[in-house]
Amino acid sequence: MLLTETRETALETEKLVLKPFEQDQDASAKGKRSYLKIRLILGLTTIIIGLWAANLALFHWVERTGLQYLLGAYARYVCAYGGFAAMIFGGMLINDCLVSRKVLKGKDIVAITADSEKPLSHVPEKVEEQERSAGARRKKPKKKIAAVPLAVILFMLCPVTVNSIISYTSTVLIEPKWSAFAYYRSNTGSNLLASCKERVWNGSGWSSENEMLSSGSNIRYVRAAYCPIQLRGYENIVVTLSDDGYLDAYVWDGLNKVWVVTNNVGFVGTTANAYRSFDVAYEKTTGRALIVYSRGTTTDEIGYRIWDGVSWGSEQLLNLEYTTGVVYWIALATKPTANANEIAMIYLDANVDVHGYVWTGSSWSLMGETAVWETSAAIATEECIAVAYEQASGMALFIWGDSVSTGNYYRIWDGSTLGATTLLAIPAQGGVTNWVALRADPATNGIVYLVVDAGSDLNTAFWDGTAWTVHPEHDSAVNTNARRCADFEWEPPGSKGLLAWGTAPNTLSYKRFTASSIWSGISTISTTGNELWVQLKRNPRDVASNAKILGAILNNNFDLGALKWDGSTLTNMGDSIFTSDTTATTFECFNIIFSDSS
């Protein structure tokens, strides 16, 4: 095949090249040689256009809007096959030219002679010389000839497709925050005083009022606790004590957005309901909760029920080992250390006896004590007892006021041994201890002890884990000694805190504290009326833009207002922002809690 083609090409070349020599016409020969160049150019042009056309038809064909092809629907096929044909014929034409050039150089002259049977003696040396001198020039065009189709082939192998489509976006900035909750008595809603009311802290303000289901009787005391385990981080428990002497429990089921209400979960009687004779606390690790309450009796004095995350267990009884009076006040504290399920309890009864237990997670323990702790506490009708855990060590501190005006006693439970009853004397006290508060520093073993005594003096002392530092008296004439009109709370990172109290009409006084003994001067903010109850709660998280401490104040106008401490400024958010109608100030009828699961 190749031989045949070569022969044909040679014969054609003979016609182009040799014939002129036979006729001995040099000028005409030059013209004939230029035909080879024309064929070469035509061949190259044809093969390139063929490649382009085939590529266009195969890969880039577009139906044009507003333009019609002359050949209509056949245009693409004609373009494709025309391109293929152009590549074939163009290639053949180039091949002819290359072969002919070799003939002109004389390389194939023998073969041609053999076939043509014609003498070659007349091949002119002049042509050879011209071809040799043109050799160098031919190399560059050959490279160009090779490069152009190569580029076209590469282009065909890498067809570029660019897609463009328009989309639109909306950007949402999501700001996670923590919530806090206020529960309180208010003569509002459909059930008036017989239903607890709720407001939710949204990061900058309190929500509108939500009315919880009826407790069946006017509410006196409210206590709340937040589930400490992440798995049920949506859960909190609110317990109310009412005029009828019954406790009612409300568990917020955050999954189904409903309150699970258990009315009459316990009965404290109609004597002990004058006091906060119950408390609620969660076990740190299991997430079980305990309601512990006075039964208003002198045997089996305390009852308790366990919330296991689904339902309340039946009432269980605790016959107090060393006391026999009706229990008036109960305070619980949850052990904060990892894997703990311990809850510490201190109580005060009608006989001014003070004693304590710890809940081990399965039973109540006397911590090895074999006798009552105190038989002559300061007062039975006011909350002169408290318990708190050192947040680092996990040791519990129990404290109470004694019948001696400067006397307060405390005991330390280290988890295995109960320390001896030890005196904490606060010489500046103007009377026996009436109301106390015990607030643990979240970062250290520090604890601040606050006392409002029978002389309406306000004093504090700081426990550093090993010893007490008693501070100079803050005030000698607070608004009342019949209510706890003062409170202290630590800021989230610890080591610093805020003391606030009511001491004069239309103002609330406050001081900043830096452990262990540095107090700022007294500052005041404007309020309305005389503040009779003050309650402060620490935000468990420290975020610059969020409140560090929230508070509530109840004045003698029955207004329940809100406080916010941002670390430098104490803000009265409204004297009656919660309600202007608690109708009473006798009881601590409100409680603020932060969501606190971790």
Binding site: Y35, A75, V78, G82, Y168, I174, E175, P176, G233
Partner: protein
């Protein structure tokens, strides 16, 4: 007749075949014009392009609206106003010739170590209230999906709007933020892509 003979000698048979091939290509590419008036029509109009939501640690199955109002931020549906783009997420207007699908997705999935749920749905304004809008799994077809899962990268849903309709849409997210006790700001970018179609 010297020229035709010279041409034959110059080109030869293959040269003529080349010219024939080129002629075929040229003929294939010859076009003529027909006057066409093209009127671009925008079916899609973006509404609110930014929003802020407040979520709380341990929120379970709470909803937020884009755009939203109320307190906490984003918890309430907006009060709709045709003339106020900040009261809807986007608007789609279709004529009698083309329907329009709108692809709804997040440009990046939200962090599934923070959110245990982030389900995106849509509502439309029915003239008096926000009503639920069906989400489809493709631009065409009838298979619906309950929500776009914002926790899954690339998950998307499609709204199908028929011909000759004007609708205003609202994006709803049902979320649970209950995995971490953290308040770092989070950015979520919702992307809408209008996709005109002849039919669904």
């Amino acid at each position: 007749m010297k020229f035709p003979r010279d041409l034959r000698a110059m080109l030869g048979v293959k040269g003529f075949l080349c010219l024939a091939s080129l002629t075929a290509i040229v003929l294939a590419l010859v076009t003529y014009t027909a006057p066409v008036t093209i009127t671009p029509t925008a079916q899609f109009t973006i509404g609110a392009t930014t929003a802020s939501w407040t979520v709380y640690v341990n929120d379970i199955n709470e909803t937020r609206n884009l755009p939203g109002s109320g307190s906490p931020a984003g918890s309430q549906t907006p009060i709709f106003s045709e003339s106020d783009p900040s009261t809807y997420a986007f608007k789609v207007i279709t004529d009698a010739a083309q329907v329009c699908a709108v692809k709804i997705e997040l440009t990046a999935a939200v962090n599934n170590s923070k959110f245990s749920k982030f389900e995106i749905t849509a509502k439309y304004w029915n003239g008096s209230a926000w009503a639920d809008e069906a989400l489809y799994d493709a631009t065409t077809g009838s298979t619906t999906k309950s929500y776009v899962n914002g926790l899954t990268l690339g998950d998307a849903g499609y709204i199908h709007q028929g011909t000759t309709t004007t609708r205003y849409y609202l994006i709803i997210v049902t979320y649970s933020y209950d995995l971490v006790d953290e308040t770092t700001l989070i950015t979520a970018i919702f992307q809408y892509t209008p996709l005109p179609r002849d039919a669904f």
